[in-house]
């Protein structure tokens, strides 16, 4: 079921703020809108005959995270440890272009899909690009949105970023 523009606007606003925090490498702030039961999955893209067959794995993953596991990253980027966070320091320039946000309201949650183009600029190297669809489950207490689940379906079978330590 589609939803009132008001909810969609709030979702878009939340996504934009989220993207800002991710692109500022501020995972700690980002974690604020993540639900305690949060689960993040990036299934392995698998090309199968037949355009209607699922084109992502049901058993293999390129990334699987929870709020607790992301908390390890947050620590990694904390002042005490950031000097040894070699993949993230110096930082890669990332930017999340979020478009095609679609919100469907279910009984007790929102199903939201969106397209994300991630740009990736490492030091002097040429930019790299990753495209994906996000399938999110959000909770809405009427005041605040929280992110319960995210499944990111990549459009490439092989990761060609310099690494994949990034939330899509």
């Amino acid at each position: 079921m589609n939803v009132a523009a008001g909810i969609k606007d709030r979702v878009v606003t939340a996504y934009n703020l989220e993207a800002d925090r991710l692109d500022a490498h501020d995972l700690a702030a980002w974690l604020a809108w993540v639900h305690d039961e949060f689960r993040y999955e990036v299934p392995i893209p698998v090309t199968r005959d037949d355009p209607r067959a699922p084109q992502h794995s049901s058993t293999g993953f390129l990334a699987v995270e929870t709020k607790d596991s992301v908390a390890l990253w947050v620590s990694r980027l904390s002042p005490a440890l950031v000097d040894a966070a070699y993949a993230e320091n110096p930082p890669v320039r990332t930017r999340h272009f979020v478009t095609n946000v679609q919100v469907a309201k279910e009984q007790d949650h929102l199903n939201v899909t969106s397209n994300v183009l991630l740009t990736w600029g490492k030091w002097n190297e040429e930019m790299r690009f990753l495209s994906a669809q996000r399938q999110d489950v959000l909770l809405d207490d009427g005041r605040e949105l929280t992110l319960l689940r995210r499944r990111a379906l990549l459009d490439t079978n092989v990761i060609r970023l310099s690494h994949f330590r990034v939330i899509i």
Binding site: V46, D49, T59, G60, F61, D68, L72, H163, F164
Partner: protein, 437 residues
């Protein structure tokens, strides 16, 4: 001054002429890892794979054989299989419909009578097939059909593969499809970083160490490093306690007796009581067996073991592609399998707490050594050059040259590059005068 056998020229690592020679003398001649038997469970199951730059199909044929077929029609070369995996009774070329059975034999040719000479003989047009052999569920293939068997190619090193994967009573299975990512470095740099180098644990991986993810231990461990003929090598970093009890930390305790029972004494000793055990089958199949202390799931038991394979495909002098398989004992509890799988994804996967730092490091080695001046220099593999090979360790005889130290030094790399030189017909100390890549 370091010995010439302890250094390797930077130009040798990255030269285009070396890359071309590697394809010819190493990858077209050696036994290459293709996949795990569990990936193609039934007759007709297939997966698309690469042998260096050549695309192949690994298929369990309808007649029950493992086949590795060049993924290209014998007629005019069209790609036969264009998906990652599936099940089939035959391979039909989309161009003119030539159809092959799962053993690679040409069966159907549309218009055979009308369009082709009578002398046309289907038997002369089968798909090119590699020779296939397996060890402990690992499928290897080679184009060198008249060369040594896989067992001869591995030689003494089979001992360690049996030790690692022969522990379980019912074997292992690959969980999910292989993870894949590209790396901006030469395959050798990636292979020796992952499969051989341990000295970077406290520096490059200082962060996950301090986060309590891996390596917490009260006692100082000992690294046993074994360098085998053929360029293969393995190391086990273990706690040597007097008790002699065989523990397999990270695995459910009910497995422990069975693990020991499935191995001979030396093998059991080698794979028991390890913090980590890793190595590399020449040229590019690395493996690791370890347990994590914590990877972010508080509901997980404190120690979960994990085993993976890591193949580094050569793509270009400064580019390679990593394939990662996660293996679990077939009969393990589904929940445990999931814990083990997730722990690896979160550490040694491309999104993990270890691998991104290794990727950053290995890419940086490529970046700074691509140019004309930097290439005219060496890399140093001198650590451990002073160690003496041991006849036996704690009463066990282990194959290969065996060293013990507080860390695994650079002995495996020296063995790897010696074999690499041998196959390319190079003397120690030579350097490529060829064009940079």
């Amino acid at each position: 001054m370091p010995q010439t056998s302890d250094v390797i020229s930077r130009s040798d690592i990255f030269a285009k002429e070396r890359h071309t020679a590697e394809l010819e003398h190493i990858f077209d001649q050696g036994w290459l890892f293709i996949g795990h038997e569990s990936e193609i469970p039934e007759p007709g199951s297939y997966v698309a794979r690469m042998m260096a730059l050549d695309p192949v199909i690994l298929v369990r044929s309808l007649s029950g054989e493992l086949r590795v077929l060049l993924n290209s029609c014998a007629h005019r070369g069209t790609q036969l299989c264009r998906s990652d995996l599936g099940t089939t009774s035959h391979f039909r070329c989309m161009y003119h419909g030539w159809t092959y059975d799962t053993d690679g034999r040409l069966r159907g040719v549309p218009g055979l009578r009308q369009w082709y000479p009578e002398s046309f003989d289907r038997a002369e047009h089968r798909l090119r097939s590699a020779r296939v052999e397996t060890i402990e569920g690992l499928v290897f293939a080679t184009w060198n059909t008249g060369g040594p068997s896989l067992a001869d190619y591995l030689g003494e090193f089979s001992f360690y593969i049996h030790a690692l994967l022969g522990r379980t009573t019912h074997g292992w299975e690959a969980v999910g499809e292989p993870l894949r990512w590209q790396s901006g470095t030469n395959w050798k740099i990636s292979v020796e970083n992952f499969g051989m180098d341990s000295l970077h644990l406290g520096t490059l991986h200082e962060s996950p160490g301090r986060l309590g993810i891996f390596g917490a231990t009260d006692q100082p461990p000992t690294a046993i490093t074994c360098v085998c003929p053929g360029g293969h090598g393995i190391e086990a970093t273990k706690i040597i306690n007097g008790s002699g009890a065989l523990a397999f930390p990270g695995y459910p305790e009910e497995y422990w007796p069975e693990f020991a029972a499935n191995l001979d004494e030396a093998q059991a000793w080698f794979v028991a009581n390890n913090l980590v055990c890793k190595g590399n089958v020449f040229p590019n199949l690395s493996f690791i067996d370890l347990f994590h202390d914590y990877t972010g799931d508080p509901t997980t038991p404190p120690e979960v073991a994990a085993t993976m394979l890591r193949l580094v495909q050569p793509i270009a002098p400064h580019k390679s592609e990593v394939w990662m398989w996660i293996l679990v004992p077939v009969d393990a509890d589904p929940q445990w399998k999931r814990w083990s799988q997730e722990s690896l994804i979160r550490t040694l996967g491309v999104s993990g707490t270890f691998e991104p730092d290794d990727l950053e490091n290995t890419a940086s080695i490529s970046v700074v050594n691509a140019a004309s001046f930097a290439r005219d220099w060496d890399m140093q593999f001198v650590a451990g050059a002073h160690l003496e090979a041991m006849k036996e360790v704690e009463g066990h005889h282990l194959p290969g040259e065996v060293f013990a130290c507080s860390a695994n030094t650079e002995s495996i790399q020296r063995g790897f590059y010696a074999e690499w030189r041998r196959r390319l017909g190079l003397e120690p100390g030579t350097r490529s005068s060829g064009e940079p890549s």
